[in-house]
Symmetry: C2
Subunit: 241 residues, 2 copies
DNA sequence: GATTCCCGAACGAACGTTCGAACGAGGGCC
DNA sequence: GGCCCTCGTTCGAACGTTCGTTCGGGAATC
C-alpha cells in the first residue's frame, strides 16, 4: 500500500517529491489561486527561483499533483478489482478504494477534488482524460449491477455521480482524529448507496440484516461535533477539545 | 417562490442587485481568488472605482452573496416543512428544497458551495452560523426518522453529510439542458438515500415498488454524455451536440 | 570543465483599494 | 427664472503591494 510508488532514488528526486508534497498542502490550505509560489518557497525552504529548477510553472505543478493522485487511485482500483467478478462486491471495492486513498492522502485529494477547474489549456485535457477513465469504470460497474438484475432502474449517470458526491464531499467535513476512518466510512456509504437509510417497510420492528455496529450513540455527541466542524475557523488544524 | 424576495424599488438597489448577480457569475466561473474586481467591472459595465460605491470590499461582496443564498434556502425550507409531521416526508422535502434552489440559482449555489473557505475573520463566522443552523436542522430530521424506527442505525453525522455530498456535488457535473431537472434529480437522490440502489434481496426478479419511470435507456447515451461532461473544456457553456 | 543545483535581484503585469474631481437632480432662497 | 449648496453617483488615475516568472552568476558534484 505504501510501497506501491517507487521510492525516489536520487537526491533531486527526493527534493521534487518534497516540493510536490508541500505544494499539495499549500494548495489544499489556501486554494490554487490563493497560494503563491512564495508560500511554497517558505514551506519548502527552497528559494523562489530555486523552485523553478524542479518545476516549470505553477500550472504544471498542479497538473503533476493531480495526475499523480489520479493515476495512483485508478491503478490501485484496477488491481483490487482483478479477479473479483461479483458486481456488488466490485462496487464495494470501488467505494473502499476511493475512501482509502482519500483518507491516506487528504491533501492531494482535496487538491484534485476542489481545484478540478483551475487548470488551463494544455494540462486540462490530460487530467480530464484520466478522470474520464475513472468515471467510466464506475459507470460500467453500476451498469453491470443493473444488468445482473440486482440494482434498481435508476439513471446510471445520476446514481454514479451521486455516489462520487458522497465520497468527494468528505474533504469538507472530515476530521481525522474525531471522525470515522476509511473502514467505517466506507461501510456507511456503501450501506447508504446500496440499501439506503430506511429499514425495510414490511418488518420495521426487526431490523439488523446489516452489521449495525456501534451506532447506539446517537446522543448529543455528533451534534456538538458537527456544530464545531461547520463553524471551524481556519486556524484549528487539530487538537480537538 | 419567486416573489419571496422583495423586489428592489430604488434605482440604486437595482444596480446593487445587478452587481450581486454578476459577481456570482464571475466568482462561479473563475473562483473567488481567481476573479478580480476588474473582471466584475467589465461584467457589469460599472467602473472599477464605481463598484466601491455599492460594495465595501471584495470579501464583503462574497459574504453578501453567500448570506443571501443561505438565508433564502433555509427560509424556504422552514416554510415548506411547516405542518408536515411525517419524518420520511420531511426528509423528502429537505432534498427537494435543496435541489430546487440549486437548479434555479446554479451560480449562487456554486459560489457558496465551492468558496465556503474563502472568507476570513469578520465575515466567516456569520456564514458559518447560518450554515450550522441548516446542517443541524437536517441532522434533526434524520434523527427523527431514526427515533420513529424507520431508519437504520447509521451514524447520523456521516449519513447527513453524505446526503449533502450527493446534492452539493451536483454543481460539478450538472448541465441544465441535458441533465434531469430538480424533480427527477430529487427523485433519484431520495431513492438512493432512503432505499439504496439494490433491489430487495428476497424478490430479486420482481422489482418495481419504485416508479422506475423512463429508465429503460441505459444504453450508450449516458456513457457518451458523461464522457463529454468530464472532459468539458472551460469554454463550452451550452449548445451541446 | 561540464553539468546540476541553487539563489538574490529584478522584471512587467495584475491585484484590491483609495482619492479627488466631476456630474446631475433637487430644494430652498433671492 | 436664476442662483447656490447638497447629496448620491460616477469615473480616471494612481497608490502600494503582490503576483509568476526570468536572468546571471555563483557553488557543488562528477
Amino acid at each position: 500500500m505504501s510501497a506501491a510508488r517507487p521510492l525516489p532514488q536520487r537526491k533531486s528526486d527526493q527534493k521534487l517529491q518534497l516540493i510536490l508534497e508541500r505544494a499539495a498542502g499549500v494548495f489544499a490550505r489556501k486554494g490554487f489561486e490563493g497560494a503563491s509560489m512564495r508560500d511554497l518557497s517558505r514551506s519548502t525552504g527552497i528559494s523562489l527561483s530555486g523552485l523553478y529548477h524542479y518545476v516549470s510553472s505553477k500550472q504544471q505543478l498542479l497538473h503533476r499533483i493531480q495526475m499523480d493522485a489520479f493515476s495512483q487511485i485508478l491503478e490501485q482500483l484496477e488491481s483490487r478489482l482483478a479477479g473479483v467478478t461479483d458486481p456488488e462486491e466490485r462496487i464495494r471495492i470501488l467505494i473502499r478504494n476511493h475512501l482509502d486513498y482519500f483518507l491516506t492522502h487528504p491533501l492531494e485529494m482535496k487538491v484534485f477534488t476542489h481545484e478540478a477547474d483551475a487548470l488551463v489549456a494544455p494540462y486540462r485535457g490530460e487530467v480530464a482524460g484520466i478522470k474520464r477513465r475513472y468515471y467510466e469504470l464506475a459507470l460500467k460497474l453500476f451498469r453491470d449491477l443493473q444488468r445482473a438484475g440486482r440494482a434498481r432502474a435508476l439513471a446510471p449517470r445520476v446514481a454514479v455521480l451521486a455516489l462520487f458526491g458522497m465520497m468527494n464531499w468528505i474533504y469538507t467535513w472530515h476530521h481525522p482524529d474525531s471522525d470515522p476512518q476509511a473502514r467505517e466510512l466506507a461501510e456507511v456509504i456503501t450501506a447508504l448507496f446500496l440499501r439506503g437509510a430506511l429499514t425495510a417497510p414490511g418488518r420495521s420492528g426487526a431490523l439488523a440484516p446489516e452489521p449495525a455496529h456501534k451506532n447506539g450513540r446517537s446522543s448529543g455527541r455528533d451534534h456538538a461535533r458537527l456544530a464545531r466542524d461547520i463553524t471551524h475557523e481556519r486556524k484549528h488544524v487539530h487538537g480537538h477539545a
